[in-house]
Symmetry: C2
Subunit: 311 residues, 2 copies
């Protein structure tokens, strides 16, 4: 048993908690004493890192015998540094986060991208447990992903491997992706935001616009046939794109989590139908598994990153 202070740093909040992992892998991870503070992203990267270091120092003092610190952070992470970040967190690029936290705490620090942390958590202790090659797909406001092979994240040549939201699908053609392209990515029509976009694109003029994917889910739950159809179209497209992705990657399992993945059986049925259609005979049998850790996945994954940093 080893306990880690873990951090999940996103554009809106910084969550922290203590995660205890069973080294033997028998007991489920224990996540305790969760806290959350606003990121206050507009204050900029230097300010965020200063506050993060103070917060981590503070929390480390609360608990004896910590084995290390794990952090999953927004942005592209390589060697404990943010090598690229969107404008959502100005000045986050270039911050040497792991080094700062190691100096502050005197503890080993493991750091990965937040989406990778989510995948690491699910692969080691969640739905992907026991599978050697896991493709983790998070369908929330956007669509993120991570590839975990033999327990380690596959980061690629530029630390961006796993961006499953940015693979091609015809349904996305002409719909602007968060990465800027109009060529047709799956994210802008299959994320939560994408559900709302697709609804607004497909609807008659007489139907009112929706503001979010949750609006579409709520309408469908209330029996609205058109919202139900939009969800089916969106999920089927995502399934087809994932079917193509597994023909390329051939993982043992695909773990699908995030708020949209929690929207119910019609979404999953369409996802599975699209997947069966896009996958080949030998990959069609790859299980699509709902994430098992919920919101705890990124902190559990951060703890795994910390444990891997310890060695």
């Amino acid at each position: 048993m080893a306990t880690y202070l873990t951090v999940d740093l996103g554009g809106t909040k910084i969550a922290t908690g203590f995660v205890t992992l069973d080294d033997a892998g028998q007991a489920a991870p224990v996540v305790e004493d969760l806290r959350s503070v606003p990121t206050e992203a507009p204050r900029g990267g230097d300010d965020i890192l200063r506050r993060l270091a103070a917060l981590v120092a503070d929390r480390v003092r609360d608990r004896d015998g910590l084995a290390g610190v794990g952090i999953g952070s927004a942005g592209v992470v390589a060697d404990g540094t943010i090598i690229s970040s969107t404008d959502l967190i100005p000045g986050w690029t270039g911050q040497r986060v792991a080094e700062t936290l190691a100096e502050t705490t005197g503890l080993p620090v493991g750091m990965v991208n937040d989406v990778v942390a989510h995948g690491l958590g699910e692969a080691h202790h969640g739905a992907g447990r026991g599978h050697a090659r896991v493709l983790s797909v998070g369908v929330g406001t956007g669509i993120g992903g991570a590839i975990i092979v033999d327990g380690r994240p596959v980061t690629g040549a530029h630390a961006v491997a796993g961006h499953i939201g940015h693979i091609a699908h015809g349904l996305g053609r002409g719909v602007r992706c968060s990465c800027g392209t109009l060529a047709g990515h799956i994210e802008p029509v299959a994320s939560g935001t994408g559900l709302a976009t697709l609804y607004n694109l497909m609807k008659d003029d007489a139907v009112a616009e929706v503001a979010s994917g949750k609006d579409v889910s709520d309408l469908a739950a209330a029996g609205d046939a058109f919202a139900t159809e939009v969800i089916a179209r969106s999920a089927r497209a995502l399934g087809e794109a994932l079917g193509g992705a597994v023909n390329l990657l051939d993982p043992d399992a695909v773990v699908v989590s995030g708020s949209v993945a929690g929207s119910g059986a019609p979404w999953w049925d369409a996802l599975r139908a699209g997947f069966a259609d896009g996958a080949m005979a030998l990959t069609r049998t790859i299980p699509l598994l709902p994430g098992a850790l919920g919101g705890a996945a990124p902190l559990v994954g951060a703890a795994v990153a910390a444990a891997q940093a310890v060695g």
Copy 2:
């Protein structure tokens, strides 16, 4: 220096040759004494393996001091056995090819899928040389691919990783793929066969049908504007699909070879434009490199597989 007998076994012919690799990696591979016999696929897997073993025994007798035998074969290969194959070679599934050739020759045998052999050759001794993570894409009658990381093929959970022809693209929607789907794969509109399919789908009734991708290339080379447009559409779609694939895989380089890749600058220009549009800012810089080994790639890759089997 070590010399291997190498085999490239496809649906129509069995090519063999001696390949000498420089262990130090300085000299280019030398491919000698190429021969080719018909596969005679309809005679079935047992008969093919019997003739292959006799052929290999015969050729091994021709050359002293061989270090091993390498074979790239059509079908899905795992542990030296064909675990799945199309109806093009009936009865090929289940054949324990590597074991048979090892018993016949008394030499170490390395065996991979033929498309993987092509990728191994290009990654080690061709356009991908010096790149740690190579995505190899072969655009010929169909579209095949292989992922080579740190010199070794990534085969995945079911030995099918790398099937880049079977990833999603909207242009393929409704066009039947060789794998059976109508959901929209890139192969049926971007392979050589796919070029002809796309031409015939897009043309006016007054325009005559074409029979092959070469017909389309020949028309374009002769100045036909419509054929030129079809090639641009097809190559752009493939580029977009590859752009999405590198967002997921993040390789150091993409090597593109095969007959269609040899069709000239307009095809490459459209491929690169589509790739730039489908890739993200951090993956757009990944080089798209024309294959450097031509038709020798599968035999050179088979020699690499043999060298890896030797140890």
